[in-house]
Amino acid sequence: MHLEPVMMKIEEVILESNRARSFIFKKSLEYQPGQFIMLWIPRLDEKPFSISYHGKDFFGVTVALKGRFTQRLHGMKVGEWVGIRGPFGRAFNLGACPEPQGCRACVVGGGVGMASLAVLIEKLENSVVVQGARTTSELLYCNRFKDMLLCTEDGSAGTKGVPTDLLEDLYRHYKFDAIYTCGPEAMMVKVSEFAREYNIYMQASLERYIKCAVGVCGQCCCNGLRLCVEGPVLEGGTLEKLEDFGRYARLGNGCKVPIGTYLGKKT
């Protein structure tokens, strides 16, 4: 783990969708699916991103266009340098479900949340994956995960609707032992409710405003939990008791606001 940012050269840029690009670094990195790194652009800012590509001697992040930082990042080319700190946080629990070997898992991703799930999907021997997006042009990794189920809100690809609409049928069909999810918090709330109802082991990767990433500044706290240390991946059981889940998040100045405001807000 890198406690100070380590400068790394962008070796490849992949256009994943009209809103998302991946940046590949030819460096090995100790990493567990679900963890995140802090990406530093000197004299601009440093922001958290999941690792969406990972191999023995390379790794990469997939970045959706949001505001000032991601705009600058999208403007960067092969050969330019950024700083990488981390990885930080708690990873997905792979050995979680009853019989790890034959365990069948369901992975539910929404939007760029897919980025936090991609390496997990590669590690799961045996899983069914559903991705939801607003429209076709925003879908991620369609060629990477050939038999991934898709749904779009406008119906331009796959089923029309949101991934959670499919959960019931999928469960009847696959009887999976675990659900892993990352995406819009509203979607993750639905997934956790479903898992609770059917009593399925479930983990979700949350998003909150991260600053120090090492558990001291308190910026990322979600009730009594530090997302950067005890999270970003949390269990269904924990989420049940988490008052802020699906409701509140904190802006960069610590103001607690409705989750919608948070996600919309330029900071």
């Binding site: 406690l3 100070e4 940012p5 380590v6 400068m7 802090m38 530093w40 000197p42 004299r43 601009l44 800012d45 440093e46 922001k47 340098w81 700083g83 700190r85 600053k211 120090c212 090492v214 558990g215 001291v216 500044c217 308190g218 910026q219 706290c221 979600c222 009730n223 009594g224 939990l225 530090r226 240390v229 904190r250 960069g252 100045n253 610590g254 103001c255 607690k256 900071t267």
Partner: protein, 307 residues
């Protein structure tokens, strides 16, 4: 462990043990304060509140190095209005909660104190010593004896709660600043805030790592300086001291008490030893005290001041 009594008192506030969460570490929400209390802290301090919300500096705001930590959080906080909502019903926290407040001038301080009225804080800590936030603390010259006296004498009238004044280690004659605070009516001294500021450079980027370029030094690097500050302050003033700086073990805590502290603040060690550091430090203190036939914290306070 029954034989050893870890309880202590700080400006009339009774603590089950001498460990206190230092301001700015995790003190952003009541939820975090509860979590820290559960791990065994004797008291907790909130992240400093200002009148208006402050965005703080851009990231990186914190960077660890081989001898501690550099931070330039820049007092990011939601301001007093939000703060009042966040810190209602503090009884739930289970241990005394200290309100750390900051201001650009006495007017700010008084308005913030007004906002705090009616909340269940056990004490107020006025921070005059941040080394990396323009308009506040050191960068506003609040850490001189004169400025300290001027601010404290007014702020004193703004609250009935025990009033702690938090000082900077960057003033060799810190004793004089402490006396100024005492004369102006402070009930206690918190010593110390971060040192410096300092800088670290990423040589591949050829840039300072912190976005604000410089930040306050905390952790092991600060420990001997903090000890000397507390030792000097103990010699100069009668009011109790909350000793803060580099404490991460029971031995460190005992050392700080012997230098003259009545209780010890812990911040950076949350990073090096985890959030459980408070319970760990207490246990290490108990073990040492038993082994050295010392039954109460009182026996330790100031005991390194040979007659």
């Amino acid at each position: 462990m029954a034989k050893v009594d870890l309880s202590t008192e700080l400006c009339g506030v009774r603590l089950q043990n001498p460990t206190v969460l230092a301001s700015g570490i995790l003190g952003t929400s009541k939820g975090m304060l509860k979590a820290v209390a559960l791990t065994g802290a004797g008291a907790v301090t909130i992240k400093s509140l200002s009148l208006e919300p402050l965005p703080g500096h851009n990231n990186p705001i914190v960077i660890g190095f081989e001898a501690g930590m550099l931070n330039a959080v820049g007092y990011a906080n939601p301001g007093i209005k939000e703060g009042v909502k966040e810190f209602s019903n503090l009884k739930e926290v289970g241990v005394p909660v200290i309100a750390s407040i900051i201001g650009r001038d006495v007017g700010d301080f008084m308005k913030v104190l007004e906002g705090l009225r009616g909340l269940d804080f056990a004490a107020v800590e006025v921070s005059l010593s941040c080394p990396h936030t323009p308009g506040y603390g050191m960068l506003a010259g609040q850490n001189t004896p004169e400025a300290t006296k001027e601010i404290v004498s007014v702020v004193r009238k703004g609250t009935g709660l025990p009033l702690l004044v938090k000082l900077s280690p960057n003033i060799p004659e810190i004793g004089r600043v402490a006396r100024a605070a005492e004369e102006a009516g402070a009930d206690g001294i918190t010593a110390v805030n971060t040192l410096g500021p300092g800088m670290l450079i990423n040589i591949e980027a050829r840039q300072p790592i912190l976005d604000f370029k410089v930040g306050g030094v905390s952790g092991p690097a600060l420990r001997p300086i903090a000890l000397r500050c507390v030792y000097d302050i103990y010699k100069t003033v009668k009011i109790p001291i909350l000793g803060v700086g580099g404490i991460s073990t029971g031995r460190h805590a005992i050392e700080m008490l012997m230098a003259g502290a009545y209780a010890v603040g812990i911040g950076t060690a949350v990073y090096s030893r985890g959030i459980e550091v408070f319970g760990k430090v207490c246990q290490e203190m108990e073990e040492w005290m038993e082994a050295n036939e010392c039954t109460s914290v009182k026996e330790l306070i100031g005991s390194a001041h040979a007659p």
